[in-house]
């Protein structure tokens, strides 16, 4: 009798979910082009450049019906990114860094988006001046390409506008604030904020990836 009661409860719960859906997913696999981006990457007054690839992994479209009857939607995209950055801090160092990351982007139906992206990789600095080495006999020589390898992690958040949504141009413009952390830097860490302003270009047929696409009703 008890088993029957529980079974009935489960069936009823299941029916209620079907009858009043809160989330309805339609999953399919689509092929989407990857994006290329290029940005100016500055820290205060110090210049830099960043470029990379963003490989789409997942896209979820959320549709909602407002109380007024108006239909709205936003899209949540996930990308794996491969990034190369460089900045120049005069007399301190130039830093070239390579990272892999995971970008989470949310775009509304007007094309505005916000994003958050953690990254990890490594960097190689080049010291901002001639570097000398002195041996124990006092002989001085120059060390070429002096600098250090560091582990590097970064987190960044920003906003942008996808021109494709409204103007059908496969471009987005964005601005993002990143915080770089390098280690081990003199047995401790080095932190550096960097502000990116750039564009993302999505050619029609470029590195097409199999992307899990979902539609979800809210």
């Amino acid at each position: 009798m008890r088993i029957l009661k529980y079974s009935l409860l489960i069936v009823m719960l299941g029916l209620s979910v079907e009858a009043f859906p809160q989330h309805q997913d339609t999953v399919k696999i689509i092929r989407r082009s990857s994006g290329l981006y290029l940005s100016y990457n500055s820290s205060l007054i110090y210049p830099g450049v960043r470029a990379g690839l963003e490989l789409p992994v997942e896209t979820i479209r959320f549709d909602k019906l407002k109380a007024s009857g108006e239909k709205k939607y936003f899209v949540r995209d996930r990308y794996i990114t491969i990034n190369m950055g460089w900045y120049h801090h005069p007399e301190f160092h130039d830093n070239l860094y390579l990272t892999g990351g995971w970008t989470m982007r949310r775009t509304n139906d007007k094309g505005f988006f916000t994003e958050f992206s953690p990254e990890a990789g490594f960097s190689r600095t080049f010291l901002g001046g001639t570097t000398y080495v002195v041996d124990n006999n006092g002989n001085v020589s120059i060390r070429k390409l002096a600098g250090y390898f560091y582990g590097l992690v970064s987190v960044g958040g920003g906003l942008g506008y996808n021109l494709e949504k409204v103007k059908k141009i496969p471009l987005s413009v964005f601005s993002k604030l990143n915080l770089l952390l390098m280690f081990p830097y003199n047995s401790t860490i080095y932190l550096r904020p960097a502000l990116e302003i750039g564009v993302i270009y999505r050619p029609v047929n470029f590195l097409k990836m199999r992307v899990k696409s979902k539609n979800r009703m809210r």
Binding site: F92, L127, T130, Y132
Partner: protein
């Protein structure tokens, strides 16, 4: 991807600052690095290199950057006549490296200083006259340098500004000065709220100081000099506002290096370090400068140095309006004294 790497490498090579640049002139500004035992230490040479006379600033700390010493006043009143050399010691300022904390110790830093002088002479000529200027902890480091082997033959003079060559004596003198001056101030009903806890602390800690006690005395000493209106107060944020962008300060590097160095275990060793018994070896001309209101490194340290060095030419002067940062608090006095001393001995 290969194309990206190529583009970035081209940009990098175009902007690379590693090409050797040696400026001989009246308004030079050369940055280079000295690589030693896991650290690449930044050296900035500013001013009149054609004089072939170099005043090498050895900063306090440990861990403070030499950027703080490169003020406009010093540029206009010392660097116009001689070249000023601002050296960031290992694990300080813009100096860089990986896991190099195990090399952060006084003998290694003494060797670093020797190598910096060798590079200055390599770049600007063996006939270059070098004057060592040690401030605060830089006093300890330069005392180590001057009393090691025949190092002192590499320099024409030793300038000792608010320095400390004997940390145990330093703690004792700081305590004595805080009690003596504190009691006078209390008797005159001046800042009693601040002085009572300072004097109480000093009277209940009588000697054989632990590192924590030593740090506490230093905190009280820094607080004490702010209680005298005659002493110009140093505001770190004003310095940052004035110079950080103009002089390309790597602010986070300065901060994290300082936090690491000032908390590193080697401070335990420094707390016991005493060069008084070695000072007899010093025969180089020496200028000793202190601030009357320096509680951090009281002028008694200068008297100890003056009484123990064997230099036939030695001079001790006191600024009546300065605390521990004489190069900022009495700039005219500081620059005039250096100018006269260098002129006499270069």
């Amino acid at each position: 991807m290969k194309n990206y790497i190529a583009v970035v490498l081209i940009v990098l090579s175009l902007t690379s600052c590693q090409k050797e640049k040696i400026s001989i002139g009246t308004n030079a500004s050369d940055t280079f690095y000295v690589d030693n035992a896991g650290a690449s230490m930044r050296v900035l040479v500013e001013g009149n290199t054609s004089s072939h006379t170099f005043v090498l600033f050895v900063a306090g700390g440990p861990g403070a950057s030499s950027f703080f010493y490169n003020t406009d006043y010093i540029k206009n009143n010392i660097a116009d006549k001689y070249a000023c050399v601002f050296w960031d010691q290992r694990n300080s300022g813009a100096s860089q490296g990986n896991s190099n904390g195990s090399n952060l110790n006084l003998p290694q830093m003494t060797d670093d200083l020797k190598k910096v002088i060798e590079v200055i002479k390599y770049r600007y000529g063996e006939n270059s006259s070098v004057f060592l200027l040690g401030h605060s902890f830089g006093g300890l480091l330069t005392a180590s340098f001057m009393t090691t082997g025949d190092n002192q033959n590499m320099v024409k003079g030793w300038i000792y500004a608010d320095g400390s060559h004997n940390y145990p004596l330093n703690d004792t003198l700081t305590r004595q000065m805080l009690i003596t001056v504190g009691q006078q101030q209390i008797a005159e009903n001046q800042n009693t709220d601040q002085w009572f806890p300072i004097v109480d602390y000093c009277e209940s800690h009588t000697g054989g100081f632990s590192l924590d006690e030593s740090f506490q005395l230093e905190d009280y000493a820094e607080q004490a000099e702010t209680l005298f209106s005659v002493v110009k107060q140093v505001n770190l944020f004003d310095l940052i506002r004035q110079y950080a962008i103009k002089d390309n300060w790597p602010l986070t590097s300065i901060l994290f290096n300082y936090l690491y160095s000032s908390n590193d275990d080697f401070n335990q060793e420094l707390a016991k370090t005493d060069f008084t018994s070695q000072l007899y070896k010093v025969t180089t001309p020496t200028l000793i400068m202190y601030g009357e209101y320096d509680f951090v490194c009281p002028k008694g340290l200068g008297e100890d140095l003056y009484n123990h060095i064997s230099s036939p030419e030695k001079k001790m002067v006191i600024s009546p309006i300065s605390g521990h940062d004489i190069f900022l608090q009495d700039q005219a006095f500081f620059c005039d004294q250096i100018d006269q001393f260098v002129l006499q001995n270069k």
